[in-house]
């Protein structure tokens, strides 16, 4: 007689610890639509897995993002009560940006926490965690575990990220951003003062919640926290996506920066 517990199965008093890793996708019993993808294997119901040493196992292919990528100020993508209040220069920038200027449309990185319709994978090693993005763009982030930021990091698209665990939540602190990526299709900007704190919590086998606190006193009156979710895609692998290959859209984009559907 066996009974399932949080991280294993108790069989006749013997705890059998198991973990489900990306290299061994959970057996899928059902299929359905995930994002833009039809007939995808769905993760079965089950608890969030852990590695043998007790570290939460976030590894796998996921789809989702940590905020509203069409408009980061949309209350549906914000922690209840939070607001995105821009300094006057930033409001002017948003008003004047054009869709064809969007770095994402130019095959440049989407930064944090902007998402895409493409899946991504988390890989965990003892010292480094990696987020591998299928698109857009085909790139990666590295998170240095239990490490410190350098004193004066060179500004980069994804910044310098250090991570640690708070219970079952992976907390990723990032500084050292350049000021180039847009938070969303509408063109919400930031400065090199940007500091993000991401919280990844695998709530069950197939789902992860993500919160991102955005603190940029050069652009926003006060910090705000975005919220989002990711869904495990146990039946797929990342595919190649080289955005620069045949980007014909730029010359066709017209008008102000706006969401995919015009919102």
């Amino acid at each position: 007689m066996c009974k399932r517990v949080t991280t294993g199965v108790v069989c006749g008093g013997l705890l059998v610890v198991f973990s489900v890793s990306a290299q061994q996708p959970a057996p899928a019993t059902k299929t359905g639509t995930i994002g833009l993808y039809r007939n995808q294997a769905l993760a079965p119901d089950g608890p969030a897995p852990k590695f043998a040493d007790g570290t939460p196992d976030l590894s796998g292919v996921w789809l989702g993002s940590g905020g509203n990528s069409a408009d980061i100020a949309n209350p549906k993508g914000l922690k209840p009560g939070d607001q995105v209040v821009m300094l006057p220069w930033a409001a002017d920038v948003v008003k004047n940006r054009l869709s064809k200027q969007d770095p994402e449309a130019n095959c440049l990185p989407a930064g944090i926490p902007r998402g895409s319709p493409y899946p991504w994978r988390i890989v965990q090693t003892p010292t480094h965690y990696f987020i591998l993005f299928e698109g857009n763009i085909h790139s990666f982030r590295q998170i240095f575990m239990n490490a410190k930021h350098p004193d004066d990091p060179d500004p980069t698209w994804f910044g310098h990220s250090v991570g640690h665990w708070e219970g079952n939540t992976l907390v990723v602190d990032t500084v050292g951003f350049n000021d180039k990526f847009w938070f969303d299709y509408k063109g919400h900007p930031h400065t090199e003062k940007l500091h993000t704190i991401e919280r990844f919590t695998r709530t069950d086998l197939g789902h992860m919640s993500m919160e991102v606190t955005i603190d940029d006193p050069g652009t926003y009156v006060k910090p705000f926290t975005t919220i989002g979710n990711a869904t495990l895609m146990p039946g797929t692998e990342l595919l190649e996506y080289i955005c620069q290959e045949n980007n014909q859209d730029l010359q066709k984009l017209e008008g102000p920066a706006r969401g995919p559907g015009g919102q």
Partner: protein
């Protein structure tokens, strides 16, 4: 079983679909295509580009005056198409096809395809495309 919150990404794409414009991956569909300019074209495929960020195919179509024009029709990325059941040879040069979709805002012979119908009746489509049949 309790309902899970809808992922934000799903909400965003649902908004795109509701707008009647393609939920394209890396740029605003509304900035490129006009949801009021529906296209319904029939012709022979002259070329297929199975490329990123979008696959494209080109078809020769006779306009009202009998002149043949070559339309450039955008699809989703190969990755989206593959995960919607397509193969790189699902559409190929020489195929006769009928295509529905929307035209570029600049009114050129450039559009976003949503549904492709072949003479034997089988159809190709993908999630995120504008589908006038909806």
């Amino acid at each position: 079983m309790a309902m899970r919150p809808l992922p934000v990404v799903a909400i965003a794409w649902a908004l795109c679909l509701a707008s009647g414009l393609p939920a394209l991956a890396h740029h605003s569909g509304a900035a490129e295509f006009d949801s009021h300019k529906k296209i319904d074209l029939t012709g022979v495929v002259t070329k297929v580009e199975w490329t990123n960020p979008h696959a494209h195919f080109y078809i020769d179509v006779k306009d009202a005056s009998g002149t043949v024009v070559n339309w450039n029709l955008e699809l989703a990325s190969p990755n989206v198409l593959i995960r919607n059941g397509w193969h790189r040879n699902s559409i190929k040069a020489g195929d006769m096809v009928s295509v529905t979709g929307v035209q570029a805002k600049d009114s050129s012979y450039y559009g976003s395809a949503s549904v492709i119908i072949f003479p034997d009746g089988h159809k190709l489509s993908f999630l995120g495309a504008d589908d006038p049949a909806k």
